[in-house]
Every structure is written in structure tokens, then in C-alpha cells.
Amino acid sequence: MAMAIEDPINAAALIVAGLKKAGINFVATLPDEKMLEVIRAVETDKELKHVPLCREEEGIGICAGAYLAGKKTAIIMQNAGFLNSCNALTTTSLQFQIPILMLIYYAGDIGDRGFTTLGSVTEPVLQAMGFRSYVLRRQEEIDETLRGAQILADDSKKPVAVLLTKRVLGVK
């Protein structure tokens, strides 16, 4: 099997193209070092409205407001940021049945040093909240996964998570 190419700029272009093919047009972000190129690509894309955040939970609110007005929304954050957002995801997203596509960098994923505590709680918390989630490891699955996750979010009117790994982001 071919090794993943460490090319974060190309990976970011693929992810942003995948978001747009999935119909996303409004993206709130809070950086993780591993997603810098993705966020840069969101910022420079003219078809996407980009809202940089100070804390992830307010992004759930901003995206909820934008959704009510007809936008197709995504939030890009680290798994620590997902944990920061849990109340808003419960009492806004779930309680009002508002979808949002969550692109979550999977710190503490298999093989990742320094974040295993965070990595350990990520999938159990997603599951406890009733959010369907998909770990995206292969760049050739970006389009299908983002589109499929957005269909699920839109149709179930719930948040859906796609966990982004270092490999799919083209970073070490």
C-alpha cells in the first residue's frame, strides 16, 4: 500500500473541495496545529463564509443561527473543542434539532503521543450524546465521507462528527 503523502496543502484543498461538494457554505473554526492548512483554505475560499471563533461553544450558536437562515454549516475544531461544546450541542443543536457537520481533529488517535487522555474520551462522549461519527483516515474517502455525513446531519437534523486523522490531513 502506498504511504500517505505528507502534503497538508493538498490535503486541505481536498477537504475544502469535499465540504463544498457536500453543500457546506458556512464554516466556523478554531485552530489545531494539524489543521492550519485546512483553516487557511477555508479562509481564502470565496464561496465559504468563514467565522473564526474564540471558543468552540459559541460556534455552535453562530452556526445554529446561520442554519435557521438557510446556511449549510460546519465547524472545524479539535476534540478538546468538541468537549468544550457539549452543553451547546445538547441544549441548542439537539434540543432544537439543528444539524451541524463537525470536522474534529482526532488528537490522541492511535499512535499519537501526548493526547491519549483526550483521545480516550472522544468517541465515548460522541456516542453518549447520540452523535454518529466517522473516522476519516484515507484521502480517497474524503468526498464520500463528508457528503455522506452532511446528508445524515441534514436528514436527522442532528450534529454528525467526522474525525480527521493526521494521515488524512497529510501531516506528521
Binding site: K49, G59, G61, I62, A66, L68, G70, A88
Partner: protein, 199 residues
């Protein structure tokens, strides 16, 4: 003066603005400005962020947030985000009664923390305290006409009039009516049943 006195005063001025409210203010606002363009939030703090999302997505529509001091203080990190987006159609009202009214009346930190200084520090170019009904209304009308992001803060006594009609909506009905109202007034489809989706 209580929050209700101020809300009553601007109910007509608010015309067809979208509103996002929190806590006890919702019942008061619905009583004086009944509309499917009213949304009541459930997450303490997010009233300003949800309103900002609407304002960013619909730059030609006026959006009013009816914020309280407890919610405002909980979402301080949302202020720089809003200021950075700088939606001119967003009027941020803060009714500061110095207590968590809906949670039993415990004091908030707002008697020590100055909301206007906080908003200005976060990047709001227009933020001011008003001290009377007349000043409040004038500031509201000015913010509307200027079309610039504005925080209008006012100290109010806790409490609300008795016998205000109870809200009969749950969150889901509130959401659908709000979205249908937007579809009707914006003349565009928003809700998109799965079977009809092109995705």
C-alpha cells in the same frame, strides 16, 4: 424600571426585526411583540451568538438579541467573534439586573464587571450605558438607523409583571415557525425535506 418597561417601549420600533431572547425576557417580549420572528434560546450565554449567526447570514435583516447579565458574562468569548464579524444589522440589548433571575436570583458578577467596557474591549465600536427609558429608545432607534453593530446596556430592577401569557411553544415548534416565517418574509426555501434534496 424593569426590563418589561424597556421592551414595551421599543416593541413598535422593532418592526419585523428577528429577535433572539433568553430567560424571562422571552415571555415579556412575546407579550409586547408577538411574532414568529421571535426565537427563545435554551443554552445560557448563546443568545448573542445565535443572533449573530442570523445577522451574518442575513445581512439585510435587522436582528436583535435580548441578552441578560448572566448570559452575557457566560459568553464573553463570543464578543470578540461578533466584533470581528461586525454585523451592522445586529442590535445587542443587555438588560442587567445583576442576578441570575431565572435560576433563583443569586447575584451575578455584573455589579463589578462593566459590560460596556467589556464589549468595547472586545472590539464593539458602539457600546453604551443608558439610564432612562427615553435614552434607551433613542439609542435603539439610532442603532437601527446607523446600521452599525451596537451594544445598548441598561441596569434594570429584577422581576416582571404578573399574568404575562405563558409561551405555548416548545423549541421544535419555535424553530419551525421561525424558519417558515423567514421563508415567507425572505421569499426563499430554507427547509429541505430529505426526499426532495438534490444532495
Amino acid at each position: 424600571m424593569q426590563r418589561y418597561d424597556y421592551l414595551k417601549l421599543i416593541a413598535d420600533d422593532a418592526k419585523d426585526a428577528l429577535s433572539v431572547s433568553t430567560g424571562w425576557a422571552s415571555r415579556e417580549w412575546w407579550a409586547v411583540r408577538p411574532s414568529d420572528g421571535n426565537l427563545k434560546t435554551r443554552t445560557l450565554g448563546l443568545v448573542s451568538s445565535i443572533a449573530a449567526g442570523l445577522a451574518i447570514a442575513l445581512p439585510h435583516r435587522k436582528v436583535i438579541a435580548l441578552d441578560g447579565d448572566g448570559a452575557f458574562l457566560m459568553n464573553l468569548c463570543g464578543l470578540p467573534t461578533i466584533a470581528q464579524q461586525n454585523p451592522g444589522n445586529f442590535i445587542h440589548l443587555l438588560f442587567d439586573n445583576e442576578v441570575y433571575e431565572a435560576s433563583g436570583g443569586t447575584a451575578t458578577a455584573s455589579r463589578h464587571a462593566d459590560a460596556v467596557i467589556l464589549a468595547k474591549g472586545a472590539g464593539y465600536r458602539n457600546a453604551k450605558w443608558v439610564k432612562s427609558l427615553e435614552e434607551f429608545r433613542a439609542a435603539f432607534v439610532r442603532a437601527w438607523q446607523q446600521n452599525e453593530l451596537t451594544l445598548i446596556a441598561v441596569k434594570v430592577e429584577p422581576g416582571q409583571p404578573k399574568n404575562l401569557p405563558a409561551l405555548k411553544l416548545d423549541e421544535i415548534e419555535n424553530k419551525y415557525r421561525f424558519m417558515r416565517y423567514l421563508e415567507a418574509t425572505e421569499k426563499k426555501g430554507i427547509l429541505n425535506p430529505g426526499f426532495d434534496s438534490k444532495l
